[in-house]
């Protein structure tokens, strides 16, 4: 087993992503030394938290053979209602309730996705396009459009939670956000679930061949309910963290975030046809996107060009994967 994984190291998407990540970091660092400052690195890590949690959810959905573009809308809905409710009761308790609330809203909305999918046999792209839009509209029409900047105290406290904090000689403060631990714990949890549990293997199985999964004895419908609700719950968590970190509950937030997240997941090696991908790859994909977005400024690339670069990296990376797999196909046939 070990020798095999060694032989396959060079075939693995994760390996090449890591190389790309290192090369990119070295290049940026060489052009602008400020890249390696603790301040910059910590802020890069901080930027991966929300995108990363979203990406874990999208990763699950894509592996199961589906797609979800409703999650930013669900995230905004969940955190905005949560914040509005907590403000109305002047909540001052622990951070647990806001998290639980936002997560539950997200999970319920995800469940709606799954139910629509399985009862009408619709394409997930259409369903999630629809629910995303409906939820956004509902929020703005019935709940409010005002940006709330006076968050409840527990959320403000949460945003100040740091694992590491130091005041430098020049008086500036560097800190490493504790919320990163949440991403890490979720990633490990999902990794273990996908690799070591029947549930996780079932998600890979339905992404590979749904009919075959049914014949083996998986309850495909229930697996799908789980995947979409779980993704919704993750969106709720990501939403409340996002709102806490920027200290703002803005109902117009996160619009268009889905494209970046899907790009990261696909870059991480998940196949849009389902059944393929890994948590490690997903995190690397997120890191790459965040690095590109956060560092191009440092090397003097104007911000409008970030999108161009992300687009090019996405096409190149997925193109390379497709090219490699086609080549190994031909090798197998000969």
């Amino acid at each position: 087993m070990n020798t095999l994984s060694k032989n396959r190291l060079f075939q693995r998407n994760e390996f090449w992503l890591l190389c790309l990540l290192i090369v990119l970091s070295l290049t940026v660092g060489a052009v602008n030394g400020a890249f390696w400052s603790a301040n910059n690195l910590f802020s890069l890590f901080k930027s991966t938290i929300v995108t990363g949690i979203f990406a874990l959810g999208v990763f699950l959905v894509i592996v199961s053979g589906g797609i979800d573009i409703s999650f930013p809308a669900f995230a905004v809905f969940s955190f905005y209602i949560t914040v509005k409710f907590l403000l109305s009761i002047k909540y001052t308790g622990t951070i647990l309730l806001p998290f639980l609330m936002s997560m539950t809203f997200g999970a319920c909305l995800g469940l709606v996705n799954a139910l629509l999918l399985s009862s009408f046999q619709l394409a997930p792209l259409i369903v999630t396009l629809g629910t995303g839009s409906a939820v956004t509209g509902f929020l703005r029409a019935f709940v409010g459009t005002a940006t709330l900047s006076n968050l409840p105290q527990p959320l403000i406290d949460f945003s100040r939670w740091n694992i590491y904090k130091k005041t430098l000689a020049d008086g500036s403060i560097v800190s490493f956000s504790g919320a990163f631990l949440i991403l890490l714990v979720l990633a490990i949890l999902i990794h273990v679930m996908m690799k070591r549990t029947t549930l996780g293997r079932g998600i890979y199985a339905i992404g590979g061949d749904e009919v075959a999964a049914k014949r083996v004895g998986f309850n495909v419908k229930r697996l799908r309910l789980f995947v979409y609700s779980f993704t919704g719950a993750l969106a709720g968590i990501a939403g409340i963290i996002h709102c806490s970190l920027i200290r703002l509950a803005n109902p117009r937030d996160l619009e268009g975030a889905e494209m970046e997240v899907i790009a990261a997941v696909v870059l991480g090696g998940a196949s849009l046809t389902g059944g393929k991908g890994s948590v490690a790859g997903t995190l690397l994909g997120v890191a790459l996107i965040v690095l590109i977005k956060g560092s191009l400024i440092l090397v003097g690339v104007p911000s409008d060009w970030q999108k161009v670069v992300i687009g090019l990296v996405l096409i190149t990376a997925t193109g390379l994967t497709a090219w490699r797999s086609r080549r190994s196909d031909e090798g197998g046939r000969a």
């Binding site: 087993m1 061949d209 075959a212 014949r215 197998g332």
Partner: protein, 510 residues
């Protein structure tokens, strides 16, 4: 006295008003290799689904392993050791061989956690049961068809199969792979595992099976030991008519060939091919997989680019149509020169499965139906389509239905009609009867002869020797990209041709 595993008595099944099975009986003993034969629509698949518990029978008696099942559920069938290997194998392409083998055990045992040691152990054990060695860490999608089939069989055997039902298991296998599949089936037999083989390939039925049950129109028309049958007998039972396989005789004159190849060479595929095809001839071209057979067909139709490969021999030689040199660089070149092609893999290359029959019929000839305004002349289309459907004997209730609703034979007839109606003078046919049942097969042969009689030259690329011998007046054997023999079929016997090809099936097994 061996034990009876499956005993069906007087099974009836109908869907709504359509009666699919009428008083069908079938018996399968331990270790028996049994063939269930019949044309498409004869009720074979329905019968299999009844045995595996997918469909309920309306009347009759089902006994599995000596037990009577008034209603048989899929889980009962599995517990009695009935395992069906579907044509698509029902595997997970994205998972490893090991996991594919172990997954049903994982689900069935209700374990929440996966132990990868256990998965590997189950995989090893499953493969050992069928005596096959394979890299269990490979993804199933990387395996050739035969490898996927082995994984499916290993999985079935591991699930305590006592009867393995295989639906058309040899359709996409090469001769060598078929030989090793047969060897495996015989090994399973020694362990008491019975195989129910669903097929309509004569050679295989006679070769491997011990007993045959033949269905026609939902009724059992014959049953018995294989040695009591011959090809003609099986065909008669399956189709209900005597189909004479008289040979094709060509009485034309050898002048002014419609198609001529002179030293025709394509780097890496074939070299120095010389051939003249005359009006009304049906010329067979046969060779093993990879001999250059399919490559030649595709090159003549412009499907392979004519770019030279680095380091190879140069592409050279000439194609002449009616004595005039032509270049075929693309499919549209070929069509413009009156060359038509019916591909081997009809489903993916030839038909538009979801499109109506009528559109499939005219897919390549719409420009001919322009009216004065440059729009399609609907009336003319309708008129011609019904005329073609009649002329080609296509059995179709409605031309607006998607072509996938037709049987393989009828799809093939639509393909022929499509090309001949455009006035092609050279017809290239690649494996024209793959996946077509016997009755429709003979109709296709008859149609080919009619087309040839109309002055078309036909090149028939095939590896079904009997088909070649009875329908061609000449046969070229291609081996490693060269024509090694040119044979007149007048007195040619199948074993002579088979010897030339070096693919005698018995030899391959031993």
């Amino acid at each position: 006295m061996s034990k009876t595993l499956i005993k069906l008595t007087d099974i009836d099944k109908s869907f709504g008003a359509a009666s699919v099975l009428r008083k069908v009986s079938l018996q399968l003993d331990e270790g028996e290799i049994h063939c269930l034969a019949g044309e498409n629509g004869s009720g074979k698949s329905t019968l299999i689904k009844i045995i595996s518990g997918v469909y309920r029978h309306d009347a009759g008696r089902i006994e599995l392993g000596g037990r009577h099942y008034p209603t048989l559920r899929p889980i009962d069938a599995i517990r009695e050791g009935v395992q069906v290997i579907y044509q698509d194998f029902s595997l997970f392409p994205n998972l490893t061989v090991a996991e594919n083998l172990a997954l049903s055990d994982q689900v069935e045992s209700g374990r929440a956690w996966v132990s990868w040691q256990r998965v590997e152990a189950i995989a090893r054990e499953s493969l050992a049961l069928i005596g096959v060695d394979m890299d269990t860490s490979r993804l199933v999608e990387e395996l050739p068809v035969s490898g996927k089939q082995l994984v499916a069989i290993a999985r079935a055997v591991y699930c305590n199969a006592r009867v393995i039902i295989m639906d058309e298991p040899t359709t996409t296998l090469t001769d060598r792979e078929i030989a090793s599949l047969f060897a495996l089936i015989r090994r399973l037999k020694e362990r008491g595992i019975a195989t129910l083989f669903v097929s309509h390939k004569m050679r295989e039925m006679l070769d491997i099976t011990e007993r045959i049950t033949i269905l026609r129109n939902g009724e059992k028309v014959a049953e018995g030991r294989t040695e009591d049958f011959d090809e003609a007998g099986i065909t008669r039972a399956m189709t209900g008519r005597d189909i004479r396989s008289d040979r094709y005789v060509w009485n034309g004159v050898r002048s002014d060939p419609v198609l001529e190849l002179r030293d025709f060479t394509r780097t890496g595929d074939f070299q120095g091919l010389n051939l003249s095809l005359y009006k009304g001839e049906i010329v067979g071209i046969t060779g093993l997989l990879g001999s250059g057979r399919t490559e030649l067909a595709e090159t003549l139709f412009g499907l392979r680019n004519t770019r030279e490969r680095p380091g190879g021999e140069k592409n050279s030689g000439k194609i002449l149509r009616n004595g005039r040199e032509i270049k075929v660089r693309s499919v549209s070149d070929a069509i413009a020169e009156g060359i038509a092609y019916v591909p081997e893999d009809r489903l993916t290359e030839g038909i538009f499965a979801e499109q109506p029959i009528e559109r499939n019929l005219f897919a390549n000839s719409y420009p001919r139906f322009k009216n004065a305004l440059g729009l399609l002349d609907r009336a003319k289309l309708r008129e011609l389509s019904s005329a073609l459907i009649r002329a080609y004997n296509v059995v179709a209730s409605n031309l607006k239905l998607p072509i996938r609703t037709l049987s393989g034979g009828n799809q093939q007839k639509v393909m022929l009609a499509r090309w001949i109606s455009t006035g092609a003078e050279v017809l290239l046919l690649n494996g024209p009867t793959v996946g077509v049942d016997v009755g429709a097969r003979f109709e296709i042969y008859r149609k080919l002869r009619e087309i040839a009689a109309g002055g078309v030259g036909i090149l028939l690329f095939s590896d079904e020797l009997q088909e070649l011998i009875s329908n061609c007046n000449r046969i070229f054997v291609i081996n490693r990209g060269r024509f090694t023999h040119e044979l007149d079929t007048g007195a040619l016997q199948e074993d002579e041709l088979s010897a030339l090809l070096g693919l005698s099936l018995e030899e391959a097994i031993q």
